[in-house]
């Protein structure tokens, strides 16, 4: 990893390779495009500054994911202190629906809005696990490796996170 020697070209290559992944990870965690953009850039700057602490024998992505996740948590804490709410639910444009089929586009659109808002109401850890499994389509094993937890813990966390999401969604439907 040439970045360890302060090579900015190497950083540029790394950024070009992973910038969209970084943005999408952050977007799933904070639910806001502007914040996700800033977090992804800050994550690369952290990689550059703390490249010496990176063990090159280990895969890059889990280490990078932890940086993005820590930054996202900090961002959310700061935002909740500033705005007195966990996330900005009004900014619901971070998840889009596939509207290729116009017949049921309205139903899909409404459902998508419920899912978006429900996701943003989940605790950070619950949103994280749902995002990884359902939006990044990662397997249990991949999530376990990424979060450095056992496969059983992944399954259990997913079970409870889905349950909470379903409860929130149910309350939305009941309210109409």
């Amino acid at each position: 990893m040439e970045i360890k020697t302060g090579d900015k070209k190497a950083l540029g290559l790394l950024v070009n390779k992973h910038k969209k992944t970084a943005f999408r990870i952050a977007l799933g965690l904070v639910g806001n495009k502007d914040d996700a953009y800033d977090i992804s850039q800050e994550a690369f700057l952290r990689v550059y500054r703390s490249a010496n602490t990176y063990d090159t024998d280990q895969p890059f992505l889990p280490w990078f994911y932890r940086i993005i996740s820590n930054l996202s948590k900090t961002w959310l804490v700061k935002r909740s202190k500033r705005e007195n709410k966990m996330v900005d639910v009004d900014d619901a444009s971070y998840l889009l629906i596939d509207s290729s089929n116009p017949e049921d586009a309205m139903v899909k659109k409404e459902t998508a809005a419920y899912v978006r808002n429900a996701l943003l109401k989940l605790d950070y850890e619950d949103r994280e696990i749902i995002t990884l499994q359902h939006f990044r389509n990662m397997s249990y094993d991949e999530i376990a490796d990424l979060l450095e937890i056992s496969k059983g813990t992944v399954m259990s966390r997913l079970y409870y996170a889905r349950k909470k999401l379903a409860d929130i969604m149910r309350s939305y439907y009941e309210q109409g």
Binding site: K19, K20, F23, K33, V77, L96, H134
Partner: protein, 105 residues
């Protein structure tokens, strides 16, 4: 519609192409400015300490400066130290009770 079906029709919003094209440039500016601020701060701190040292040397070594200026300067420094200790203690107190202190800043 179950959760898998719902999430299956959803994708993340993307950014316009020009934002991605300028991504590295925008980041490089932040990197550059970060270094700029570090050098600026180190230089400023060094100059401030040097200036303070020179100022105090002048005040206390120059016999023509009135005694009340020397006393006022000593009181000013004492006040600054008390304030610094007080703020530091408050920050430490808040840190010990911070629920999110495990979150890296």
């Amino acid at each position: 519609m179950n959760l898998k079906e719902m999430t299956g029709i959803m994708t993340y919003a993307d950014l316009p192409d020009e934002v991605w094209e300028n991504y590295w440039q925008s980041m490089y500016k932040k990197l550059e400015r970060g270094f700029g601020w570090i050098f600026f701060s180190v230089g400023a701190i060094a100059l401030i300490f040097y200036g303070m040292f020179q100022f105090l040397s002048e005040i206390y070594q120059n016999p023509t400066i009135p005694i009340f200026i020397k006393i006022a300067t000593a009181v000013l420094i004492l006040g600054a130290i008390i304030l610094l200790v007080s703020f530091s203690r408050e920050r430490l107190f808040a840190y010990k009770r911070d629920r999110y202190k495990e979150v890296k800043k």
